[in-house]
């Protein structure tokens, strides 16, 4: 009933009386995904050209790079032409942030800074309110595409652990509607557009989307106490959310706890990853321990959701109305299904255009339509480029592949593979029980990698996260062998 009221009355009404076009955007997005491929491409290309023109005209960084490459936006008339635009990296963008990468036109009162807090790893961007609305609508779209979601169903999130209070980051706190109103009254900001925007975000989060956030695992890493794990199980049994969205490692650990303890599969309809990709064996373990299905999603704080899969599980369908995604290898577009680096062009954010941005991921792509129902380009993300091993023989092993190698073993609870220099690996193992010494894991790993790498095994009690709260189970020193798509400006 609550859902129905929201869906049919509250949201369209809110949408009417505020500047937010959330509801209309959302409806339009649902239509865009079902459109025939040619139509999707046409919209994508039209938005791309408008973005390239806009970037060239109003963003010094992009104009300079176009000029240096001797091209104009009008020279870009085919997918192949895109290769003439030099990709950009985080270093380029951040060295010019904000004035030289943001547009010189636009209503700056309607802009907001994203990801300025937290670790130095995250890209700082400026989004205009239009983009922000699109991000919110698009989040709802991926929910809708996940199954039978209706606005108002409960969502639980377990985000990675980032220090905020002690480290003094203000973050973009989205807690509490009433505290925000109180603060607006106190600081006389009742008409301040930024404060109103934040209030709207909170109303959406708490009342419309009914989001709850659980505590992250914390710095102790993967292996928490039973009590702590049971806490997650109890909370999920109490909240019975439609959606559980969490760092893949958290999901995986909860799933295996459930399995180990012989607990009935937990009542969650849809499970999604947050902040990292997931390997096939992790996905299987998760689906055994929850009643619902796992849905892949590709997105980031800076861009919003960029792609998601559906019940057909035929890859991540790119939101072609909002993004142009390329996969490149050695300066060329990768062939159908070939691994390469992911470049993102954001078609919406006019405040700070990002064009052919190297997001640091490794993926395969297929332009072939999956079905009559969803015809868009599909993507399979296999991990971070920096986490990809390349053997002396030139074989590429993404972190997904390596994870699956270890997670298939029953004697390994968790692992971390640290390449200290190309071909030299420290292997940290949390054994499931007893010891894994003498079990021949080193040889099997060499067999798997088909390379005479040097492996040193250490047994540990837990695997710890990075400062960002995320885990890096594979850390590569050989990823340079992949070849850089990008030369730094």
């Amino acid at each position: 009933m609550y859902s129905w009221l929201l869906q049919k009355l509250a949201l369209p009404t809110v949408s009417r009386v505020t500047s937010s076009k959330f509801w209309d955007d959302y409806q339009e997005m649902l239509r865009a995904d079902q459109a025939p491929l040619e139509q999707q491409k046409a919209l994508q290309w039209q938005r791309l050209q408008s973005m390239l023109d806009h970037a060239y005209e109003t963003v010094p960084f992009h104009r300079q790079r176009f000029d240096a490459a001797g091209i104009k936006p009008s020279d870009i008339s085919s997918y192949e032409d895109l290769l003439r635009i030099p990709p950009s990296t985080k270093i380029d963008i951040q060295a010019n942030f904000p004035d030289r990468v943001a547009s010189s036109i636009g209503d700056q009162d309607a802009w907001r800074y994203v990801s300025t807090s937290g670790t130095a790893n995250r890209l700082m961007v400026i989004q205009d309110f239009r983009k922000r609305d699109m991000v919110r609508a698009s989040t709802t779209r991926s929910l809708a595409l996940s199954g039978d979601y209706a606005v108002g169903k409960t969502i639980v999130e377990i985000p990675p652990d980032i220090c905020n209070i002690v480290c003094g980051a203000e973050g973009e706190s989205l807690d509490g509607v009433f505290p925000q109103i109180a603060s607006m009254v106190k600081h006389r900001e009742l008409t301040d557009p930024k404060a109103i925007s934040s209030l709207r975000g909170r109303i959406e989060r708490n009342w419309v989307f009914r989001k709850k956030t659980y505590q992250p695992f914390g710095p102790q890493g993967t292996n928490l106490t039973e009590e702590h794990m049971q806490g997650y199980v109890d909370s999920l049994l109490r909240d019975r959310p439609y959606l559980l969205k969490a760092l893949p490692t958290y999901l995986f650990e909860i799933a295996r706890y459930v399995e180990r303890k012989g607990i009935e599969p937990l009542p969650v309809q849809v499970i999604k990853p947050m902040g990292a990709s997931i390997s096939p064996s992790m996905r299987d373990a998760i689906e055994r321990s929850f009643t619902g299905q796992f849905r892949e999603e590709y997105g980031s704080a800076e861009f919003g959701d960029m792609a998601c899969d559906g019940p057909e599980r035929d890859g991540l369908h790119v939101f072609m109305d909002l993004f142009l995604v390329e996969v490149v290898r050695d300066g060329k577009h990768a062939k159908d299904g070939e691994l390469g680096r992911v470049l993102i062009t954001d078609l919406m954010n006019k405040a700070m255009p990002l064009i052919r941005y190297d997001i640091g991921d490794i993926a395969r792509m297929s332009p072939a339509p999956a079905s009559a129902k969803r015809q868009g380009t599909r993507l399979w993300v296999e991990g971070r480029a920096d986490d990809t091993l390349v053997t002396a023989e030139g074989q590429v092993f993404t972190s997904d592949k390596v994870m699956d190698f270890f997670y298939k073993r029953t004697d390994v609870d968790q692992f971390q593979l640290l390449e200290t220099r190309p071909g030299k690996l420290d292997l940290l193992i949390v054994p499931s029980n007893g010891s894994v010494r003498g079990a021949g894991i080193e040889d099997e790993l060499r067999g798997f990698l088909q390379s005479e790498v040097d492996v040193t095994l250490y047994e540990v009690k837990t695997i710890k996260p990075e400062a960002s709260g995320k885990f890096r189970f594979v850390q590569s020193k050989s990823h340079d062998r992949l070849g850089h798509e990008v030369t730094h400006a």
Binding site: F97, D99, A169
Partner: protein, 393 residues
């Protein structure tokens, strides 16, 4: 202005093709070549343990090690036996808390670094005197607390968060008049000002080598000889004892009894080189240099719209740091932009002084802190970079 940049090899480093602008010396200072050389020289030619053996290397090591204590004692005007090597300011404060008998009733201030707050606990016998927006301690409140009977006043000379300098001599006199001892956290003052413990008549004073051009992991607790005699040892082991028998042991002389185990020998020796280097420049000149930079920085930044300076407005009352906020931007965001654009390295956050921020209702701040190698041109880079970013808000 001093001109010593050539002595600091790290300043030749470039990141992404640009030089670095290091404005985070309040966290730790850069190291001059002579310090790096002293440490390497020890490893290359003199490696041995101290105070133990009679062979040539051990004697050389011991001599260099104890030489640092002599230089240190001269620098702050104390007796050599009153200078105890500790790991740093934090350890110095904790040691006084643990080892000096009868420090039940203590008072600190709202501007302290966490390491001068936490050791004193949170009980009813612990008082915290407030400070105003410029970091001035409420002296009336201090007097009132002192009148109620206090064993120890623990106070920082210069605030790491907003650079406020306290009238330390005045505080010590008031405390003594009320029968209280005084511990001064000199982490941010020893590197920048001449200190004379006899003139100050301070009871305990702690500071860290790494903030004054020296290596990490070493620092000093100065305590009046009469206080050291009363202090118990908190760690036992080699070098603490004079004689050990099956029935018991007798303690070494002060200060050695407080230095259990093998110390960070190379760090002590490196610190000796740093102290000589600083003495060569003259701490008066260091102070002058810092003050000129801070004054210049405050003037330069106060001209920028949206920048709000925090802390003392009077240059006589400010240490070598300038803290500020930018309207509409988070402190961490500002710090990241400065770093990403021009390799300008500043600190952002609560600077380990969260109670200060809470009591003044302050959001996290950005802090630029200066030392002997910094220049007005670097302040200009900071200001220009801020202008470029802010022009955009």
């Amino acid at each position: 202005m001093l001109d010593v940049r050539a002595d600091f090899p790290i300043l030749e480093r470039q990141i992404n093709g640009k030089p670095i602008v290091y404005l985070d010396s309040a966290a730790t200072s850069l190291k001059p070549r002579c310090v790096i050389d002293a440490v390497t020289n020890f490893y290359t030619l003199h490696t041995a343990n101290v105070h133990r053996a009679v062979h040539a290397l051990a004697e050389e090591a011991t001599e260099q090690f104890e030489d640092t204590r002599r230089v240190l004692a001269r620098l702050i005007n104390c007796d050599e036996n009153e200078a105890v090597f500790v790991r740093g300011t934090t350890e110095a404060i904790n040691m006084v808390h643990r080892c000096y008998p009868g420090l039940k009733r203590s008072v600190t201030t709202a501007i302290e670094h966490h390491s001068n707050l936490l050791p004193w606990g949170f009980g009813p016998d612990r008082h915290i005197v407030s400070v105003d927006a410029e970091g001035r301690i409420d002296m009336d409140a201090l007097d009132a607390v002192l009148a109620g009977g206090i064993d120890l006043v623990a106070v920082s000379h210069v605030s790491n968060a907003i650079g406020a300098v306290q009238p330390i001599k005045d505080i010590i006199d008031r405390a003594h008049a009320a029968g209280a001892l005084v511990l001064v956290d000199a982490a941010q003052s020893a590197p920048h000002l001449p200190l004379d413990v006899k003139e100050l008549d301070v009871d305990f004073l702690g500071f860290s080598a790494h903030k004054m051009l020296g290596p990490g992991g070493i620092g000093c607790l100065y305590a009046k000889a009469e206080h050291l005699d009363k202090m118990s040892t908190w760690m036992l082991g080699g070098h603490v004892v004079d004689q050990v028998h099956r029935e018991g042991y007798t303690l070494q002389e002060v200060p050695h009894r407080f230095e259990a185990g093998t110390p960070a020998i190379e760090a002590v020796i490196g610190w000796g080189a740093a102290l000589r280097y600083l003495a060569g420049i003259g701490l008066d000149n260091v102070h002058e240099h810092d003050r000129e930079l801070v004054t210049y920085a405050r003037n330069r930044l106060s001209d920028i719209d949206h920048v709000k300076l925090i802390g003392p407005t009077d240059p006589q009352r400010s240490g070598s740091a300038v803290s500020f906020q930018v309207d509409g931007l988070e402190a961490h965001g500002v710090a990241r932009m400065l770093n990403n654009r021009e390799n300008i390295m500043v600190r952002s956050g609560f600077h380990c002084a969260q109670p200060l921020h809470e009591s003044l209702d302050l959001l996290p701040t950005v802090r630029a802190s200066f030392y002997v190698y910094n220049t007005k041109e670097e302040v200009d880079s900071l200001a220009q970079c801020l202008e470029a970013v802010i022009q955009f808000l």
